[in-house]
């Protein structure tokens, strides 16, 4: 299984907010194992999608200088299950951002219904002892390109987001 829980960014405003979508498909293997005979997207993986949306928003804001890891789900509430055929839309907003950590709120919606809401706390770890490198720079950049981050991204001044020269 590939650990990609968002398919594409639709909006990305540096340091402020991002919107990403995830299409739930019956072709995904994990849907069949959670409750056999009743395929649905486990909310733990919805949280992963929320964390990828908000985590990349934060990592970009600190220019990938530290490793951004989901440290804590401070609050989470879900109203219904996402099922095959649903398009989940994650709307992430940065509530607080400091060198050592950040707090973000993410709302997931399917159509016009709110599917879930969470407050996520990220720790920003300094690379070094005990903190592994999570991605090769080129691998990360390829992933960001595949998600169209630099097609839709804007910086604080509303200008197109500069693609890093890694």
């Amino acid at each position: 299984m590939r650990w990609f829980w968002i398919d594409r960014f639709e909006e990305f405003v540096r340091g402020r907010r991002a919107v990403a979508v995830k299409n739930v498909s019956l072709a995904e293997e994990h849907l069949h194992d959670h409750f056999p005979g009743m395929p649905l997207m486990p909310n733990s993986l919805v949280v992963e999608g929320m964390a990828q949306t908000a985590g990349l928003l934060v990592a970009d804001a600190i220019e990938y200088a530290r490793r951004v890891v989901l440290a804590k789900v401070a609050a989470a509430e879900f109203h219904f299950d996402a099922v095959p055929g649903d398009c989940i839309r994650f709307e992430a907003e940065v509530l607080d951002l400091k060198p050592t950590g950040s707090l973000a709120k993410v709302v997931s919606t399917v159509g016009d219904r709110t599917q879930g809401e969470a407050e996520l706390f990220f720790a920003h770890l300094e690379p070094g002892d005990g903190v592994p490198q999570l991605f090769e720079p080129q691998q990360l950049l390829r992933w960001l390109d595949q998600m169209h981050m630099y097609d839709v991204g804007r910086d604080e001044a509303g200008q197109p987001l500069a693609r890093p020269d890694w």
């Binding site: 050592t100 950590g101 706390f121």
Partner: protein
């Protein structure tokens, strides 16, 4: 400057949100780690919430001096030495370290900080 009770109420709200504990669990004498179950990452979360609630700035290591507790200068054989105790006292004038001094093992430190220490800390920041 808010009263002690007002500070306590706001600290309590921050701890309820950060630690997912019930309001009645947050008594002044409750220990942060032993009674309220705070883990190291929670202290970062608590710092965020206290800064927001009181409009104060909390520097890294000010509330929980992990740098002292992990320094070979201040810790020998898992115990905080005399220089370390002096450093903790000077860094954390708001904390009551009397009990910790009797058995200053690093592991014990986690159970030293109380909710009352948090309130005193915020009070000292607001007064500064």
């Amino acid at each position: 400057m808010p009263s002690r009770d007002e500070i306590f109420e706001k600290v309590k709200a921050a701890l309820v949100d950060a630690l997912g504990v019930d309001e009645e669990d947050v008594s002044p004498s409750a220990t942060m780690v032993g009674d309220l179950g705070a883990e190291s990452i929670d202290f970062l979360d608590i710092v965020f919430r206290l800064e927001k609630a009181f409009g104060i700035k909390i520097s890294r290591g000010e509330l929980f001096p992990e740098d002292v507790l992990s320094s070979s200068e201040f810790v020998s054989d898992g115990r905080v030495n005399a220089a370390g105790l002096a450093a903790l006292k000077s860094r954390m004038p708001f904390a009551n370290l009397t009990k910790f001094e009797q058995n200053p093992s690093v592991q014990n430190f986690a159970n030293t900080l109380t909710v009352d220490d948090m309130v005193r800390y915020v009070e000292s920041k607001l007064a500064a």
